[in-house]
């Protein structure tokens, strides 16, 4: 079958958005907004996925699968995406967390309705250039007897252990071996959580599904603790399909990162803001007469009010209705909507929560958790909160509606929502 014929066939995309029990490393920010809607480079995390899908010809539908109760933020996001793009955008709610394979299997009829020739599957909490068309092209080159393409990238040996590791046939790129988070080194090629599947994948998931059902009926007591419908794509399906000429890996050289912790949201913002130079130059703030000084890549929402003596950037995102006073400095930070930064304050490596206030001459500062800049394959560490009995120095996060008084310093701390602080804090979680 030629490329041109393939291109005429209809495509869909599925994005796994998880649920409120997931993304706890993103607290306290995920209290206010579902993590997939947290703004990265000025727009909801998911928007980047959807914009990438919009560039793929014949994309007909985006399906979000997760186990969030329908909520206002999600509805509003879907409505506005629906309006902005010409394909349909829907949310399908799982009755429980069914796993990365279980969710799509449960909704397979919805995914396959209309007869797509293939569909993309993406985790919401990744940041990527989403080379979807390259994946599609690669897919066509590999013939039509396989059922999936995994987007892979290179990690260093140590960090590869935190990901799904892929061994490939170097000539054909066939996946020969797949193992999730091995304890010893297996391969430097890791799974990006972005896939292209043909409808045949459901036959394989179905096999595992049936076997699970049967196994669990035999269990004593019947119906064990684990949900019978839970299927993990990585452990249950990929491992099984490896070396059966069913899975191929397409390796990208472009940027990719997980967004697990709030610290990685700042890193992901930097990657997306840099990419805006090519994809959305209109989203980047420019130095102009009467405006603030802009250094590097900065996003400013059009409704924000910013004094001309403020200095912003690099890697700063300023949300809706934010007010920034005279002589304010913001660097490597995300300022969420409604926040107010008073004169001369300094915000570095921090996320300032919705409607929070930072007083005059206050300093809000975190420690970046960037990947080693000297290792091209280094990834951001999804750091644990505590190490050696102390809070790991990380970015500072102010939850929603936090008030920081004038002249104090808040350093390497996490402040939970609705707190009025009255002094300086360092290396603390403030409940």
């Amino acid at each position: 079958m030629s490329d041109s014929v393939f291109n005429l066939k209809m495509l869909k995309a599925v994005i796994l958005i998880g649920g409120p029990q997931k993304g706890t490393r993103f607290r306290p920010l995920s209290f206010e907004v579902p993590k997939p809607l947290f703004p990265v480079a000025g727009v909801p995390m998911l928007q980047h996925h959807i914009e990438a899908c919009a560039k793929v010809p014949n994309m007909k539908e985006i399906i979000l699968i997760g186990f969030y109760q329908p909520n206002e933020e999600l509805n509003r996001f879907i409505a506005s995406a629906q309006q902005e793009f010409k394909f349909s955008v829907r949310y399908l709610q799982e009755f429980a967390a069914l796993g990365t394979g279980g969710g799509i299997y449960h909704f397979r009829d919805q995914i396959l309705s209309g007869g797509p020739s293939a569909f993309f599957l993406m985790n919401a909490d990744v940041c990527s250039e989403f080379p979807l068309q390259d994946m599609l092209h690669f897919h066509h080159q590999r013939g039509n007897s396989h059922c999936g393409i995994i987007l892979g990238t290179t990690a260093n040996r140590k960090q590869s252990l935190n990901y799904g590791c892929i061994v490939e046939n170097q000539e054909t790129n066939e996946v020969l071996h797949f193992v999730e988070k091995p304890s010893t080194f297996v391969s430097e090629i890791i799974n990006c959580g972005i896939y292209l599947f043909t409808p045949e994948i459901f036959a394989h998931i179905g096999t595992v599904f049936k076997r699970n059902q049967e196994d669990r009926l035999l269990e004593e007591p019947p119906c064990g603790r684990q949900l019978r419908e839970l299927i993990r794509l990585e452990q249950d399906i990929f491992t099984m399909l490896a070396a059966r000429k069913q899975l191929y890996v397409y390796k990208t050289q472009h940027f990719w990162s997980q967004i697990k912790s709030a610290g990685s949201a700042i890193y992901a913002s930097r990657l997306y803001l840099k990419r805006y130079n090519e994809t959305h130059p209109e989203r980047l703030a420019r130095n102009q007469e009467g405006g603030p000084k802009i250094i590097g890549n900065v996003y400013i929402h059009q409704t924000a009010t910013i004094d001309s003596t403020a200095v912003l950037g690099p890697n700063v995102s300023i949300g809706k209705g934010v007010i920034i006073g005279a002589g304010v400095r913001v660097r490597e930070s995300i300022v969420l909507h409604g926040a107010s930064l008073q004169d001369h304050c300094c915000v570095l490596n921090s996320i300032v929560g919705w409607d929070s206030t930072i007083g005059k001459w206050a300093r809000v500062e975190g420690t970046p958790s960037d990947p080693n800049p000297n290792d091209p394959y280094a990834k951001i560490d999804s750091e644990t909160l505590f190490r050696d009995g102390g809070l790991t120095p990380s970015i500072t996060i102010l939850g929603c509606n936090v008030n920081i008084p004038s002249e104090v310093i808040i350093r390497n701390s996490i402040v939970l929502p609705h707190k009025d602080l009255n002094r300086s804090f360092k290396n603390q979680i403030i409940l």
């Binding site: 660097r331 001369h344 570095l348 500062e365």
Partner: protein, 360 residues
């Protein structure tokens, strides 16, 4: 009348400032520490000041020659070949001190207060014995050596080192006046006047205590230097308020050299001393600091409880606090956080110092 000032050694407690300038010449509230004492002595009628130093400094000698001219007095440097403690220097200067029958003053060089030299002379002549020491009240006497004396006459009974039960809350303030006959008690060898000489004088009924009114501080180390500055500025507020700067942007007691340049939207004070030629750019917030001559603080920085050394430069949006001391010509890059750092001269700092430490 004569006075002997015990200047001593390298002033290591006030490093890194004393790595560039001999301690007596470090400016305290915009005037070298030593001149606070010398000018007060001159006012009380002293015409010859002897500085007991254990190391020689060209800078100190030159400066003292200039001050001789300015004040119309004689200033001698008495150089110890080996450190002689707090009493030995008196023996070394014996000839200078005994050429008349007049009593003479002796003082530690680190002390700052409203110097009561005239009162001391009066008090001393009144009791007619060999020595008078000034005492000052402290809150926690158990940290010091205290002086036990008769309330009415001032006659000292004894000295108690770090008393565990309350015996007195008065401590030796480091200022004395002696009759020349007292010098027979001292030999030319390292001797502690407090431990070896005073107890004997007290026992013989030759030593009296005069209580100091007002503030007193030993400013020999940076933390106390800043505390002493606050006390001194408060005393200026009471005695010569016109010397303090007031107006929009100035809070509490602030002393500003007329050659300093201060930008817009700054908030300065309380308790700040700004030296000659200092530049504070727009939007600087500074409290409880001494900024020494020629330093430059850039926009939007926030400083509390710091000493900024001569010609140092502090970048924009720097936060500096907790008894940070910058030596001479230190450069602090933009946007850093400096917490309790001691920075040696000519150092350029490009990374934050989140916990107190010495930057070599």
């Amino acid at each position: 009348m004569k006075a002997l000032i015990l200047v001593g050694g390298y002033g290591t407690r006030l490093r890194p400032l004393t790595l560039s300038v001999p301690k007596p010449l470090v400016e305290f509230c915009n005037k070298p520490i030593l001149l606070h004492q010398v000018e007060a002595l001159v006012k009380a009628g002293v015409r010859h000041v002897i500085l007991a130093v254990s190391y020689m400094s060209d800078l100190l000698e030159r400066e003292m020659r200039a001050q001789e001219q300015r004040l119309g007095i004689k200033i001698s440097l008495s150089h110890e070949k080996e450190p002689l403690g707090t009493a030995g220097p008196l023996a070394l200067a014996r000839e200078l001190l005994t050429d008349s029958d007049e009593p003479f003053f002796v003082l530690n060089s680190d002390v700052i207060c409203d110097f009561p030299f005239e009162d001391m002379l009066k008090f001393h002549k009144n009791h007619g014995k060999e020595g008078t020491i000034v005492v000052t009240k402290v809150e926690e006497p158990s940290k010091y050596g205290v002086v036990v004396y008769e309330g009415e006459t001032g006659r000292i009974h004894r000295f108690v080192e770090k008393p565990q039960v309350f015996v007195s809350n008065k401590i030796n303030a480091g200022m004395y006046i002696f009759s020349p006959s007292m010098l027979r008690r001292i030999q030319l060898r390292p001797t502690s006047i407090e431990k070896e000489i005073f107890p004997v004088m007290a026992e013989e009924g030759q030593l009296y205590a005069m209580e100091l009114q007002g503030f007193w501080m030993d400013i020999g180390q940076p933390k106390d230097f800043l505390t002493g500055m606050c006390m001194y500025l408060q005393s200026v507020r009471q005695n010569a308020p016109e010397r303090l700067r007031t107006g929009p942007g100035f809070l509490g007691n602030v002393l500003v050299d007329p050659t300093a340049v201060i930008g817009e939207n700054c908030t300065i004070g309380p308790n700040v001393t700004i030296g000659a030629g200092v530049v504070l750019e727009d939007g600087v917030r500074i409290k409880r600091c001494t900024v020494l001559r020629g330093a430059h603080i850039r926009s939007h920085s926030w400083l509390e409880s710091c000493i900024v050394g001569w010609s140092s430069s502090v970048g924009q949006w720097v936060r500096m606090e907790n008894v940070t001391v910058l030596g001479e010509d230190v450069i602090v890059s933009d946007e850093l956080y400096i917490n309790g750092a001691n920075v040696l001269p000519h150092k350029s700092i490009t990374d934050s110092v989140p916990e107190p430490r010495i930057i070599m």
